[in-house]
């Protein structure tokens, strides 16, 4: 049976470190599939103007396109070039909740993420996405420093 490892990407260098760690892990495990996931932070409970609502679908398509071409596709291509079985997923939502949900949907056995790059007031108030993921995920989580 193929083991699935989910890699949480955020388009920064920490995501690269997570990929490197996941590759190393996959080599050790053997039959392994890597899921490169980029979650676009989004909440259905925010307040928007009517015009923002009217443009929302267009913006969403643009956001997905950007995340796919800039972050996920290059990562998946690089993984495949290195001989790994890999696929990419882009989705909107709460980062921690969505990463966990995608992992469960796809039968992933663990999640690898880079240490959060969030800082300042928001992090103190709400905790970072990484902290939330570690606290609430249904599978083991590895946080790469």
């Amino acid at each position: 049976m193929t083991t699935k490892i989910v890699i949480g990407l955020d388009g920064t260098e920490t995501g690269e470190r997570a990929i490197a760690f996941a590759k190393d892990l996959a080599e050790r495990i053997g039959a392994c599939e890597l899921l490169a996931v980029y979650v676009i932070e989004w909440s259905p409970f925010t307040f928007q103007t009517p015009e923002e609502n009217a443009l929302r679908h267009k913006r969403r398509e643009e956001e997905v396109e950007l995340a796919t071409t800039r972050v996920v596709t290059p990562a998946v291509d690089a993984l495949k070039a290195a001989g790994f079985q890999a696929q990419g997923i882009v989705r909107h939502g709460d980062v921690a909740e969505t990463l966990n949900a995608i992992t469960i949907e796809n039968g992933g056995s663990q999640i690898v993420v880079g240490r959060s790059s969030a800082d300042g007031f928001k992090k103190r108030l709400f905790g970072s996405s990484t902290q939330n993921l570690v606290m609430h995920a249904d599978v083991p989580v590895t946080v790469v420093n």
Binding site: I40, W42, P44, F45, T46, F47, Q48, T49, P50, E51, E52, N53, A54, L55, R56, H57, K58, R60, E61, E63, V64, R91, H92, G93, E97, T98, A101
Partner: protein
């Protein structure tokens, strides 16, 4: 015309004409005002005309009858699907793969920010001040019935909207009138759509803009002391310009976040005041029920209470006007009727909850003077409203009621009124724009023309007391309802088909909740 308004108009004139011509422009404005009043007077009188032999405006009857018809036609959809509507707003039925699209919650919040405002604060005070506590009962009844009107128009708004290749959407009554009538093989849809669009543009510039700017200025001037309205107008116009023309979303975002916060703070403060006077809650409801059927001595008796309650509810929640159908149409859903369910929460929150809170606070803090001997309300000197503790009416009555419990609350209320006015203006700028593009076509230059006109009207609205124009604009908003409700009667069978189909699939389990 008072000195302030003369100053405002003079300043306004200098913006558009040579300073030397300013004085002449003031005179010209007076003339334009008069000519405008003469020209629009018959239309305004027609819209707000009472039924013969009563003081009941027929337009209010038109909206209440429509709401009753829709309530019966859809077999009390507002009660049967109330909890389902809440589940939809919570996102229980939202496919995680559609995350990132406009959610039901966002559409509801956006539509609410366009309706929650002066109607909930000033309008209710007027209703209770004239119609007595009993007006609250009829206001709640009208709010509950209005939920069915919103359900009907918002379902159609999503069903018949236009989706363009670039992913943007345009929807609203003008689209369901033309496309819906065409689909049913009915003539005249296009004519109704054009009529609706004209009234919508006028309503957006008037009730959705000038009236708001005017009231916002009154509030600010009330705190800082009197100063020329054009100053407020220019500042507001610049901010509105930055948001709707400059695309400066940050200001709109701040407002969109602060307005709900203000709404919650308002309701929370009202609840605290009500709980502080918990022993009087039973008495207050007693007054509301007794007043609803006897009038308790108010001008016009029970009918007076009923007229005020119905009228203010209709003014506040805009059910049947068609504006909400524009706001709700942006939701991307496979089932248009789900947006109808969500929208029926709007009159509930706006009228049944927020308006009732305002009314209860005014009643419970005993702002209305009761004759100790008869137990009935005393009328003011003019005999057209109930006497109040400090002779207050409108916003100042609400302000005094809240201020009697929290001395600082009038300041918060003033800020809330200004913010509510601003968010209502942003919402209506969009409604007006959609009507404008329906008439003249989409395009950057055409849209820019409307947006600039909108900003100019902000200054005019704040600077001048253009009574006839504001009367006309209010009449235009209700004229939207005349055209919209007429179309809804023809299209309601489409909504019923959707409702029957959806209810069956919900029952069979074909439509189910998603795991989140």
């Amino acid at each position: 015309m008072n000195i302030q308004n003369k100053l405002g108009l003079a300043a306004l004139a200098t913006l558009f004409a040579a300073p030397a011509a300013a004085q002449e422009a003031v005179g010209l404005d007076d003339k334009i005002n008069q000519a405008f009043a003469d020209f629009t007077g018959p239309f305004v009188s027609f819209i707000f005309a009472p039924f013969p032999g009563t003081g009941f405006p027929w337009i209010v009857g038109w909206l209440v009858i429509a709401a009753t018809v829709f309530t019966l036609y859809f077999a009390f959809v507002q009660l049967r699907f109330f909890s389902h509507a809440i589940s939809l707003v919570k996102g229980d039925y939202s496919d995680p793969n559609d995350a990132g699209e406009v959610s039901h919650f966002q559409a509801l919040a956006t539509a609410l920010s366009g309706t929650v405002g002066l109607g909930n604060i000033a309008g209710v005070a007027v209703a209770v001040g004239i119609g007595g506590p009993g007006a609250t009962f009829w206001m709640i009844v009208a709010g509950l019935l209005g939920m069915a009107s919103k359900f009907t128009e918002c379902t159609l708004g999503v069903k018949y909207r236009n989706e363009y290749d670039d992913g943007t959407v345009s929807g609203g009554p003008m689209y369901y009138m033309s496309k819906g009538f065409n689909e049913l093989g009915l003539p005249g849809g296009k004519i109704l759509a054009v009529l609706f669009s004209i009234f919508c543009i006028l309503g957006a510039l008037g009730g959705g803009n000038m009236f708001q700017a005017n009231q916002a200025h009154q509030q600010i001037a009330g705190i800082t002391g009197d100063y020329p309205g054009w100053i407020t107008g220019i500042v507001f116009a610049i901010i509105v310009f930055l948001v709707i023309v400059g695309g400066l979303k940050s200001i709109a975002r701040v407002t969109e976040k602060v307005v709900p916060f203000m709404g919650v703070l308002y309701v929370a403060a009202a609840l605290v005041i009500i709980l502080m006077n918990a022993d009087q809650i039973g008495w207050a409801f007693g007054q509301i029920f007794a007043g609803a059927f006897t009038g308790l001595g108010v001008a016009g008796g029970m009918v007076g209470a009923l007229i005020q309650g119905f009228r203010r509810a209709a003014f506040s929640n805009e059910a049947g006007v068609g504006s909400a159908a524009i706001a709700h149409s942006a939701v991307r859903t496979k089932e248009p009727i789900t947006e109808g369910f969500v929208s029926l929460l709007e009159p509930f929150i706006d009228t049944v909850v927020i308006c009732t809170m305002t009314a209860l606070v005014i009643i419970i803090t005993q702002q209305l003077i009761v004759d100790p001997e008869t137990g009935k309300y005393m009328l003011n000197e003019a005999g057209n409203a109930i006497a109040t503790v400090d002779g207050n009416s409108g916003v100042s009555l609400t302000s005094a009621a809240f201020g009697s419990a929290f001395s600082w609350f009038p300041y918060v209320l003033a800020i809330a009124v200004v913010l509510f006015a601003f968010s209502t203006m942003i919402s209506w700028s969009y409604y007006g724009l959609k009507a404008w593009t329906y008439l003249f076509g989409e395009g950057h230059v055409k849209e820019l023309v409307f947006k600039i006109i909108f900003c100019i009207f902000v200054v005019i609205g704040a600077a001048a007391n253009l009574g006839p124009v504001i009367d006309f604009s209010d009449a235009a908003i209700f004229a939207m309802a005349v055209v919209n409700v007429f179309a809804l009667y023809f299209l309601m069978k489409v909504v019923r088909q959707e409702l029957v189909s959806y209810a069956e699939r919900l029952k069979s389990g074909e439509i189910r909740k998603f795991e989140h």
